[in-house]
Symmetry: C2
Subunit: 204 residues, 2 copies
């Protein structure tokens, strides 16, 4: 006699939940059971929100951020944006922390990744052509490379900096590297300390 | 100028994801972004599975396990079940580990919780009346209480054992307590060791 298992709809839900990032088999089972115990009043609106989010949300053609309409997005449509600054990030999700810092009011450009030979991601997989198009068409005068400060992020930054050298009237900068706010010396790694020393700023 | 945030459909999805057990704000955001990046091909079937699971799966009227039809469930409908044994558990999810052990082929009864005064859960919140109905109507001769071995589980077990004393022809047992399989003495807590000693079995 076969062991009793969850009914098919529950097992199908567990299979889908297991695909989610950070959700293992145990979590998927716990979530599915929780949803079953809540019943339709919870699962139906949840499924509708998921369906409409998946259907309505697209990638902004210009910057690559999340958008709900064909032309532009909340950033690109912003009226009080500084049209001379373009900040290049790896992922659309990198835009929100920069926004929350309140220190940048220019435009963004998400590359949708970074150069990573081990993952078979070369420059042609990234939104670099779109970046060049925007720079040639637009009024940008400075490109700020806000990429990860690891090997792949730096390789991507170097590649783009090299490319942009051929475009006149555009200066290329990158984020400062150094000590994170609130971090004591004892918790900083050697590379961070080395960069903080190399980038030291005079107080005179 | 307000900071840019995710479009409304993404924020609504994050709100729903945060309700799930074990999912915090960061995980909810990561899962929502992942779903957006997968697009409709993933989110639409996912939402359909969630909707149909929530709609189709109900609680078995008899045992309290998950079911997809009005009468019975995979356990209650089982043909080769031992109709004399009834195993009482706290939650419907407790049924699967018992099934997987392969050591029990009787029927189950989920209480849908346990007596817990701190959470305002008394006997009347549990499926105890249904348990008594089954025992009076059925051919059960033994009730195995497979409840948690903590204070609330034991209080619930004692309460039920007391109730069942009045029903003739039914013996009440509980799971053995002792050393878990594969566990060394050094990893056992004092209460487990005490119970294992008290329940020691002769090898003679």
């Amino acid at each position: 006699m076969a062991n009793v298992d969850y009914p098919d709809p529950v097992r199908a839900l567990i299979v889908h939940l297991k695909q989610l990032p950070g959700i293992g088999p145990k979590s998927a089972e716990r979530i599915a059971v929780w949803l079953m115990q809540q019943g339709e009043e919870v699962s139906t609106p949840f499924s509708e929100v998921m369906e409409s989010a998946g259907r309505e949300v697209i990638e902004c053609r210009l910057c690559g951020f999340f958008s709900t309409h064909e032309k532009g997005c909340a950033v690109c449509d912003g009226l009080q944006r500084d049209g001379s600054l373009l900040c290049v990030v790896e992922q659309p999700t990198d835009i929100l922390p920069l926004e929350r810092s309140g220190a940048f009011r220019g435009h963004y450009h998400s590359l949708r990744g970074r150069i990573s030979p081990l993952d078979n991601i070369g420059p042609e997989e990234l939104r670099i052509r779109e970046l060049l198009d925007r720079l040639r068409a637009g009024a940008f005068t400075e490109v700020i490379l806000a990429l990860s400060s690891d090997v792949e992020g730096e390789a991507t930054a170097n590649y783009i900096a090299e490319l942009l050298r051929g475009i006149e009237g555009i200066s290329v900068t990158r984020l400062a590297q150094g000590m994170p706010a609130g971090g004591g010396l004892e918790s900083a790694d050697e590379l961070t300390l080395m960069r903080a020393l190399q980038g030291r700023v005079g107080l005179g």
